[in-house]
Amino acid sequence: MIEDPVYQMSEDDDRSPPLDLGGPASVTESSNKTRNCTGVSGSGSSPIEFQAQYPDQVLENVLENVLYFLTSRRDRSAASLVCKSWLHAEALTRSDLFIGNCYAVSPQRVTARFTRVRSVSIKGKPRFADFNLMPPNWGAHFTPWVAAMATAYPWLEKVYLKRMSVSDDDLAHLADSFPGFKELVLVCCEGFGTSGLAVVASKCRQLRVLDLIESEVTDDDVDWISFFPESQIYLESLIFDCVECHVNFDALERLVARSPSLKKLRLNRLVSIGQLYRLMIRAPQLTHLGTGSFSTSAEVMAQGEQEPDYVSALAAAFAACKSLVCLSGFREILTDYLPAIYPVCANITSLNFSYANINAEQLKSVICHCHKLQIFWVLDSICDEGLQAVAATCKELRELRVFPVDAREDIEGPVSEVGLQAISEGCRNLRSILYFCQRMTNAAVIAMSRNCPDLVVFRLCIMGRRRPDHLTNEPMDEGFGAIVRNCKKLTRLATSGLLTDKAFSYIGEYGKLLRTLSVAFAGDSDMGLKYLLEGCPKLQKLEIRDSPFGDAALLSGLHHYYNMRFLWMSSCRVSRRGCREVARAMPRMVVEVMKNDLEEEVMADYVEILYMYRSLEGPRDDTPKFVEIL
């Protein structure tokens, strides 16, 4: 059973220890240990066979009871490696399944080993697919999974999918197969529409959670909200802010009214502020609210109606939500209404303004109250001045994301190193930052590395490709070097700006805990990638685009690739020859070579996109035309 230790690769990268894919040795080892177990626990002079069976069974029962309490994936992985008994016991008691790459293992293998699963999480496409770097229909289909689970896990309660292709039929199959189904969370998924949602709403009688996050939902002209039966009174979370079609508001209002357990409600862009008000007064128990458009509907605006009282009425509604901790939405914000949220500012820990095109002054009026804020997503329209205000008030800030209003290169950006410096000085507890800007300096990045030593995630996106430090004109090597050197807990890094191989030597030297790395338009030579592959032992997910790394660099990572979830290289310098060599040297890697464009004329040996990942199953059988597996 070569699969035993190998299975661990489907575990979450940050939980399981890196494992060797070697097979036979470990199998023998576990058999030996089993025999030892038997020998030790036996008593008396009964025949070996009798001794062998009974203590095994006791052991497994005991184990099951103990292992039941193990929740951490890493602990479970470790436990399953002890010996065969433990492997079986752990498999029987594992109720939460995490598949980090849907192609690393097959649904059949999973359902054969784990038989009592209640909750499944599956991740599909690589992240760069979000940015159109890969043609659609690459794969990651939910269909085979739902088919296998339908028979194997009749008591399945929860499904979490990220970057999977989910069809309406899949949703129907899910709704039909799991009578106790409670939670459906779809993040960055596509392939389904309102008709699939309607089936889930109507047939999943035990549904508690329906969360659609940043997913593409086609408008099938089906009024899915109406499909929740009157008996559906248990809803705890309804998130549909990404759905781009009108929902039947009356049906929604009735649903909210009969759901006293509803804690999370995130409305889509097409819900007006008046409708928001009506929903809020029916659900003062909300903890998470997505406000929808936060604007008056088009009809109202066309008629020129003023609703001056709405602000105070709305403020009262907000004030009534005493448990509100997470606020988002503001999709088409009418800034006149901003004061309505003041009553909740003091309590909120998470605020998502990343669709609200507000300026520094408008932000200040809100943020000055937000002393408890830990998570803040915002647009760069607030400028450096707005960030300074954040730094002044939000001392508990853990996560900051600054998105660009205008995501083009070569324009004057409203935020810069000034904002970053201010944040670093004010928010010393920062753990995670995503910062889009047009200009940056090494000094500010170095300052952040010193002021915020607890950083776990540092993602800087200088939008102009290969931009140097705009004051010194030097590469951004020293800034990123300081980050990996000073932020000793760093596990995720995204680089940008002008970077030489030196930056990568720093990352290789100091990035010992680094698991996820994103590189674009950086480096000078193969050495850059070599530094990474040779220096970062915990590297799990490496995505690289438009960087001059070639076959020599690719081949320098053979010792490490089995420890990784995937490697993505697009528009680099790798050739088919090099990729084939990897495929030959590493039989358990699936090496996918793709073009982003079928009609494209490319040089014969050139590889536009390389996506490779470890797998127990070998090449998948659902590759589209533009994918070739070497």
Binding site: E244, N473, D501, S518
Partner: protein
């Protein structure tokens, strides 16, 4: 070996530490186009503005070894900053988020199309260059004239072309009077496929018509564009 580090650039007298990468555009900008032209033939001996770590390398040897590769396309027009062509998936903002904001600005509902062009009125066309390993995509509506476009394309493709600066650069084929010189040489010629499927020389029709009808652009070697020459020649004859 990285192409960027050996990219040949025009070093200005008195220009200190022009840096690398995108600073090239600023460097060249300071000279008038005519100056650029005349310097072209001197560029075998030009100052190679390599990144600092390459100090010890004999740049000329490297340059010679790369002569066989694609020619350099000069970023031209000094008067205004070359518009940067959009690169697919950069900056890494999810199309979902980009679409949302675009929708807010235009206050109309966004399309559900997965095709990137639609719904936002983009005019993305593929631009390929003979010899370049892969093609780029460009939004034609970002540019106001052939000049803008040629600047952007030159910048875009210069990042993986090295060699002498012997060509007149893309500037020339936008200039009809130089068309003949160009076509007879071994320089690059931009061509495009229009709605009818015909391959035309870029510059043949007024800019607006070009944006409407262009489906894709191919920058071919001058010699291969000979078949298109008659049209251009006729056009020139008609005008002169």
């Amino acid at each position: 070996m990285g192409f960027e580090e050996t990219e040949l650039r025009l070093g200005l007298p008195g220009n200190n530490g022009g840096g690398s990468g995108t600073e090239v555009a600023e460097v060249v900008r300071k000279r008038g186009f005519s100056e650029t032209e005349s310097d072209v033939t001197d560029n075998v001996d030009l100052k190679l503005n390599l990144s600092s770590k390459e100090a010890g390398v004999d740049a000329k040897d490297k340059a010679k070894s790369l002569m066989n590769k694609e020619k350099n396309l000069l970023p031209a027009d000094p008067a205004k900053p070359p518009a940067k062509a959009q690169v697919v998936g950069w900056p890494p903002v999810r199309s979902f988020r980009k679409n949302m904001l675009a929708v807010q600005k235009s206050s109309s509902s966004s399309s559900e199309e997965s095709e990137k062009n639609m719904g936002l009125g983009l005019t993305l066309v593929k631009v390929s260059m003979d010899g370049a390993p892969y093609l780029r995509k460009v939004d034609l509506k970002m540019y106001k004239s052939y000049q803008d476009l040629s600047d952007a394309l030159a910048k875009m493709f210069s990042s993986f072309t090295i060699g002498n600066c012997g060509s007149q650069g893309m500037k020339d084929f936008m200039n009809e009077s130089k068309l003949m010189d160009l076509l007879s040489g071994s320089d690059y010629v931009p061509t495009y496929e229009d709605k009818d499927g015909d391959w035309m020389l870029v510059g043949d029709v007024p800019w607006e018509m070009f944006v409407e009808s262009c489906k894709r652009v191919r920058i071919m070697k001058g010699k291969e564009a000979v078949g298109l020459a008659p049209r251009a020649m006729e056009k020139c004859k008609n005008r002169s």
